[in-house]
Subunit: 322 residues, 4 copies
């Protein structure tokens, strides 16, 4: 009955060792979801926050999700569809409170339709991972492509929210915001900048800055497990991210030690120093644009939707140290 076993495996789908987050699901399958193991019992989950964060990730207008933690510019994604990403909680939560057991949740793929498959077949373009998938796995499998879809980040956002809520109880806050779109650094002009690329059938990258406040001094380890190394790992695992820097970063290279000695970015020797941790990351423009021959609506600046994902991965990183 069983004919063959292809040897390819798309692993690993597990992040973290203290809080272990396992992500699963294909964009075209029954559901995506995750299991978060390591969350202490007794946390009252803030479901509104999770809904709002999922809306941010889906590119909703700020007014649609006007909650107090919804901050900074996130723009309006042209890809924002009516995806009501609703989370179903399978375990680990009773009456809205965590049990200390693994939290399993799923988001059903309500919009999975045959035409999605067609879309995926058209998806093999420059700048995408399609070609390397073929190289690595030996078959042109647009089903596997369903796993690589950015939709997977919705599960990261849900898990990240639980991590953020736990951190919030310890007085630690994480706030990411878009600080640059193309050459533009004035947030007031981001929407126009993106609209121009949108209209032109082109796309543009962006830089996100993330600030962590309230992190106790002493977080991180001095040799290999430096705090910045773990943050870089978490952030660079997000699709389309091309760089990570903290403190003086790349820009600091032109400044002498005498001028920038005191700028730590919140981390010294791999260990948080008790001041605000500041890092930045850059997201490339999507290659799927009308200009590149891809028809239909396109996301002119994916960095917009990456903001809540950056916060989520930051939170999932930090809880490993607490």
């Amino acid at each position: 009955m069983i004919k063959f076993v292809l040897e390819f495996v798309i692993d690993m789908n597990v992040f973290g060792e203290k809080w272990t987050f396992t992500s699963f699901g294909e964009s075209h399958g029954a559901a995506i979801g995750g299991v978060l193991d390591g969350v202490p019992a007794g946390l009252h989950i803030d479901f509104d926050m999770i809904r709002a964060e999922l809306a941010r990730r889906a590119g909703k207008k700020p007014t649609e999700v006007s909650l107090d933690f919804y901050r900074g510019f996130t723009g309006v994604s042209s890809r924002a569809q009516n995806e009501p990403d609703e989370v179903e909680w399978l375990s680990g939560v009773l009456d809205g409170v965590t049990l200390g057991t693994p939290i399993a949740f799923i988001i059903h793929n309500k919009d999975a339709r045959p035409e999605d498959y067609e879309f995926l077949k058209h998806n093999y373009r420059v700048g995408h991972a399609d070609k390397v998938y073929e190289l690595k796995y030996g078959i042109r499998d647009h089903r596997g492509g369903g796993r690589a879809s950015a939709r997977e980040t919705a599960a990261r956002v849900v898990a990240g929210c639980i991590a953020k809520q736990t951190l919030r109880l310890k007085g630690i806050s994480i706030r990411a915001s878009l600080i640059q779109v193309g050459a533009e650094t004035d947030p007031a002009k981001f929407a126009d900048t993106i609209a121009a690329y949108q209209k032109d059938g082109d796309s543009i990258g962006g830089i996100i800055e993330c600030r962590i406040n309230g992190l106790p001094a002493g977080t991180g380890e001095p040799i290999f497990d430096k705090l910045q190394a773990h943050l870089a790992f978490a952030i660079m695992s997000i699709n389309a991210c091309k760089g990570f820097e903290y403190g003086t970063g790349f820009g600091g290279v032109t400044q002498p030690g005498s001028a920038i000695n005191a700028i730590s970015g919140g981390i010294a020797g791999g260990i948080s120093d008790g001041t605000e941790v500041i890092f930045r990351c850059v997201f490339k423009p999507t290659p799927s644009t009308p200009k590149a021959g891809v028809k239909g609506r396109h996301d002119a600046c994916v960095a917009v939707r990456a903001v809540p994902v950056v916060e989520a991965m930051t939170a999932l990183c930090l809880v490993q140290f607490l």
Copy 2:
């Protein structure tokens, strides 16, 4: 809104490093389930085998699950209820074939009813983990008890079946069977022996032997990661298991080297030698009996239902080495 965070966590719920199996779910919650990460693409899943193995675990009569791989004596559990454990596949499988992505599955708790809670409240008895839970977690939480339920082993059986099917393709088979119940070693008399303890309101332990055939020589590592060490870890993680031995085991202590040198149990120096691997494990009698003051039906010999769980954990252990 958030009042407090208890610090207790029931972790870790993850088994394995190459194939990572994450188990989740409370016996009283919406569902139990698991995520199996690391399964290669292209495996045609044998769903009938999974159904039959779940039936074995649920203590069904052999005749009800008369499939060719259903072997050895497993007896009839008095706890066998009409639990139609049906698996819902959420991801990682398309048209019955694995995708190489994480396989998430759930088993709904159809029978979760309020009276179950009452049952759990009566469950704090000698020989159970209730007291240590209280000691460890600081609260008398019968919800957490739901996690420790033997029902969790159903998820192990599902994951173990996928591991077994993969091993089968490589010519590796795993067969566990009950070889002793109380002092009785004749399988023909196991049913009567158990029935006698059942009638007496008492319970009895059993020994399971497991035989692995077709395992290539060279499996295992010579220092810490010996094959027998990993098998012992996997098997001793099953509820009620009190001991593990392989080859000459404890019984061999009375035999001189000259008599037993040639009996390897299939492993030498931590590494499989290409012959049949044979190990045994012992399961204690359940403490929840009428004789101990626990009313209602009871499982006079839990070792019966442990047989497919032993196979499942063996399979999940072996796939780590392939």
Copy 3:
């Protein structure tokens, strides 16, 4: 210049995740040793205890190492040579106190001589790992055999002593002793029993019992990471160990639940219950005997020398949970 790379690797030589112990060294090389990462700063190392434990492992007479913690029968190994295993401390210790940094230590192989190589060449016998090494690594490499030598356990004893000393500060003690040699269970007669096998050119197995006192209730995790599973993994990684059991063990199989419910062996549901933890393990007789055609002195009961190794691995296991 570089001709070829054989793909074989004798890994993994790392034990533990919180306290990480890396063992290295060939019995014929410059030195064996280890690195122990995770030891807190401020521990005053008891070097006398380490010397005495190494002497126990080397099979010295009790009188030669008459220290107060030297307890139980360990007999006199015929293999006991004048190996003055002296530990050189490379890092992590200053003025006898741990620094909180990795502790690296070595034991020089003073007695490495050409004739040892000859001995190794004669060593390919039934019951040894020689054959599986050839199967696994594809070459008959007696140099690799040097890694599998029981001498490697000296490094485990050193690391285990540091673990034991840390546990001692927390009020946790570990005491292993030989409780059976062949069919003999009276310690007063162990020496004679072993001497008889020695004289006969044969060998015999033994059972070691280990008792852990002072372990706080709550140690261990309820699902996969049960305390007994981790203890079994640690103990089964010792050469020649063929079985592990705790509490009622295999012997309990003949007793009804009503008789043995209250015997926990110190662990319930995978978690220590605050009472004495008791486990047993069995060691097979060495296959290297005159009767099997191996000339020269032989170790008639390797279980004797395994006693301090059992304690060491128990300690290295327990510190993972603290």
Copy 4:
């Protein structure tokens, strides 16, 4: 005898899961060193390369180590002392060939002198980790500071050389070079630029570019374990590194998708695409300068000495995937 246990631990000192590198040693202690577990047997170690790479790390003039692989500008460090870092091999190597067992090596601290302690006491300055150590570990322990010393990177270089030599056999080469010092991007002028800062008692940062050639397409995993995430983790664990980018990096933010779609930096979707992998990282200027009140010789541009460390960590990262 034992008075107290401080709870601080400087962990973790282990890098990697397939090839496990454990680093140990204090800069003022007997030795620093490492254990590399996972190296296949049969590799003929190129000791000359290791000597040359250690010389690069020590800041020697190129002419002093004029070997064919010594490439790019590395400048002349003012800190370059006569430290003849000689490696002593303890295990895992016989007659210059790896055995497939753990390779343990040490570098004796020949120059450890009392005045070093004085130096360390003067070392608590802005921009250093001294303060966070005090915050984290609760004591002002300049012995612990010995662990954080950049001298630890010598062990990384040794282990990295073995990784590089293994990669070289598979046709994979790693070449890092300094591409920017301050605002200067012309390598011909780096020496003068650094000399100017040196003379001024100040310091300056630098950018290192690393190019990996011959890496097979398919290296990396698409979700969390993306190749770029692991490279970022490895590189950001180096002292003084403030940022990591690959492909278009931060600079690409001003370019539209239509202009930069085709620049992958050798990685797509987390997986190498078979083209040259190019990444850059930035190193801050040392805060220990005469201008900042620190007397004595100073290293005006630590990026110079970081070049071989970048290559070493890249190699240790890549071998995890092979």
